[in-house]
Symmetry: C2
Amino acid sequence: MKISEKVLDDFINEVASKSPTPGGGAVGAVVGALGAALVEMVASLTVGKKGYEDYEAEMERVISESSYRRKRLLEIADEDIKAFNDFMNTLKLPKDTPEKKKIRSEKLQESLKKACEVPYDLAREISKICPLANSVNKFGNKNAISDAKSAIALLDAAFKSAIANVEINLKSIKDEKFVSSMREAVDGLRGNVEKCISNGEGN
Amino acid sequence: MKISEKVLDDFINEVASKSPTPGGGAVGAVVGALGAALVEMVASLTVGKKGYEDYEAEMERVISESSYRRKRLLEIADEDIKAFNDFMNTLKLPKDTPEKKKIRSEKLQESLKKACEVPYDLAREISKICPLANSVNKFGNKNAISDAKSAIALLDAAFKSAIANVEINLKSIKDEKFVSSMREAVDGLRGNVEKCISNGEGN
């Protein structure tokens, strides 16, 4: 069953259980989707509101993009669980001959790369939702400013969850080129998101 | 229907909709519950694990308290929606005579106080979960350190959502004694939570 189809209480109980999935990556993606949904709500509460006519087109754009991106985030939540389960299954491969050991080791490295790429996708999605959150925070309905602030806090948390999950998996990857290019990509996103979040918190 | 009984996709769509509820307060409470669930998972992944015997009793305590508190957070999510809807209904009361206007005004002030108290309860709950998150971050299974970091980020976001919701409602409350004592209480919690979060992010 997809995460999006689960009853909230069941999902939270699954997170809390001894099973390592759903973990921080999948939960971070859900929290990002909730942040994007709050951005969309504030934009919707601004469209058609007297005094906000100048921002109508911008708010329509925010609604359309947030709506698209929050659906993508829920897909990423499922991909994160799949990537981790694939890694756990790879760990179970036989290693009783040198050849089998080599195959297992190569497959583990592939699984680890995938387990980095999924939370990296999450981080990149969040970096694209952040400017939308800043837009509703600046130009959106002032009666909903607490919702805009909440959205920014949630996106920040989702981003940090994503990065923590990239980093823990990077530690076990032997392909130095992959590691350095992933670190560089993450640093680029981090710079953008931190700037975006601090702008949002500041005003 | 309670929030905990909703299908995740339906809940997120309701957040995104033009209706101001569920808003940042209720969503913040759900995110806090997800944070507490991650804390519980890390503690569960630590109990019985070789090398972590010294922290067994502490992890059992964390599991029991996180489990209790995440259920309370979901109740607060429902209370937040109720408080906002009560406020919206009070706004509709008649104000066509001076007496009715006075009654409406008094009832609005009561509703606003309730709309401050619910997110304040949320903030207080988060302040009690934070030390549990720090405990799993320090003493929990190192393979799940990214989940502990995610939990801390989520609790931080839930706290900021709560505070944003207290503050927006405080602005319209005329009872200066209530306002100053609420501000003082919030400042106390903020100090504790910020210290707790920065400890967790730092190690």
